[in-house]
């Protein structure tokens, strides 16, 4: 548990350092996720302890968004003034993105999974 949490923080820290040094517009934790994924892929296995810790942390992923969500308090005026364009944008874009993305994967997947199909 302690080891795995330290490992996650070390990867996050490495991600932050890379972001600061390269000026990449991607936050440190996302780079850290990429680094950890690459490490696991190279090593070829995940320890039980790490798997368990990740599961515990991700089980309540929703909780972690609550503090930022409460920030809605700060924007009551703008939300009142512009509720219609903001709502229209969020609803239209979310529905469209869900359908379009799932459709693209749906349409492309069988073709690339056929072993005879050479990838371009």
């Amino acid at each position: 548990m302690l080891e795995s949490i330290t490992l996650l923080l070390v990867f996050q820290l490495a991600g932050e350092v890379i972001t600061l040094m390269t000026g990449l517009p991607v936050p440190g934790p996302v780079i850290g996720m990429g680094l950890l994924f690459a490490t696991l892929a190279l090593r070829g296995h995940v320890s039980n302890d790490l798997r368990q810790t990740a599961q515990n942390l991700l089980q309540h992923l929703s909780l972690l968004f609550v503090p930022a969500g409460v920030g809605v308090m700060l924007h009551v005026q703008r939300l009142k003034d512009e509720w219609w364009p903001l709502l229209a944008a969020v609803v239209v874009s979310t529905l469209l993105t869900l359908v379009v993305t799932a459709w693209v994967l749906h349409a492309l997947q069988p073709a690339t999974e056929k072993p005879t199909d050479a990838a371009p």
Partner: protein, 243 residues
């Protein structure tokens, strides 16, 4: 003389303990309600917890900054949790490897659809430029989205709210929507959920299916990269076209 309850509140709200404890209590109450509603997607735990906390803070006149002094400890865990997404992702590695091309194309199209359709719809409905720029990165996970909004000239804290709204909406509508149009593949639908509604959608996807959640996590991470790279470069063209 015993202190009045308001005095106790004023004292406690000056320490991180209150914001932190309230966040955990509200979330557990929200989870309890979610279960009582037979896990109906509309009874979203984030939505319920946020509503309870906003009501409480407004009623007691507690500023958001005071609340966040305590809640930041929960907020901080978003970092290690994002890193931890590598583990379920790795579990899908064999399936992932066979899908690299569809994933790359789906990412590109999905990422641009999310940003451009939001800006277009917001523009058509009469949104201000500041709102449009804040809307553009709304499908990306909170910390990345705020960074992109800043770079674009939007309002990062408004973006954070729009990101959460998008996530909650995606978590609520995705499953009924996919059932209706007949998409059942957990990988493809999970990926779409991750592109459209980042971590909140991913959390929901994990509740349903491990594979769906892993693909949502992958999509969320990739979309963070893709949007951060593409949007500052492409969005000015769209904004110029809209005038």
């Amino acid at each position: 003389m015993t202190p009045r309850i308001t005095d106790i509140w004023v004292y406690l709200s000056a320490t991180p303990l209150l914001g932190l404890t309230l966040t955990l209590l509200a979330y557990q109450a929200a989870l309890w309600m979610h279960v009582r509603c037979n896990r109906h997607p509309a009874a979203n735990p984030v939505l319920l917890a946020v509503a309870m906390l906003v009501a409480l803070l407004s009623l007691t006149g507690t500023p958001y900054a005071t609340y966040f002094d305590g809640a930041q400890f929960v907020h901080f865990l978003l970092g290690p949790a994002t890193v931890a997404l590598a583990i379920p992702l790795y579990a899908q590695w064999t399936r992932l490897r066979r899908m690299l091309l569809p994933i790359a194309i789906g990412l590109l199209i999905g990422s641009l659809t999310a940003a451009f359709s939001a800006v277009l719809a917001g523009h058509l409905a009469g949104g201000s430029t500041a709102s449009l720029l804040s809307l553009a990165p709304k499908s990306v996970t909170t910390p990345i989205a705020m960074g992109i909004a800043e770079r674009l000239g939007g309002l990062p804290s408004l973006t954070a709210v729009l990101v959460i709204l998008t996530g909650i909406l995606g978590a609520i509508v995705a499953r009924p929507l996919f059932t209706r149009i007949g998409f059942t593949d957990p990988a493809a639908t999970g990926f779409a959920i991750g592109i459209a509604s980042h971590g909140i959608g991913t959390a929901r996807a994990f509740q349903e299916n491990e594979q769906s959640g892993a693909f949502a996590a992958l999509a969320m991470g990739l979309n963070g990269f893709a949007t951060a790279m593409l949007l500052p470069w492409l969005l000015p063209y769209l904004m110029r076209a809209l005038g």
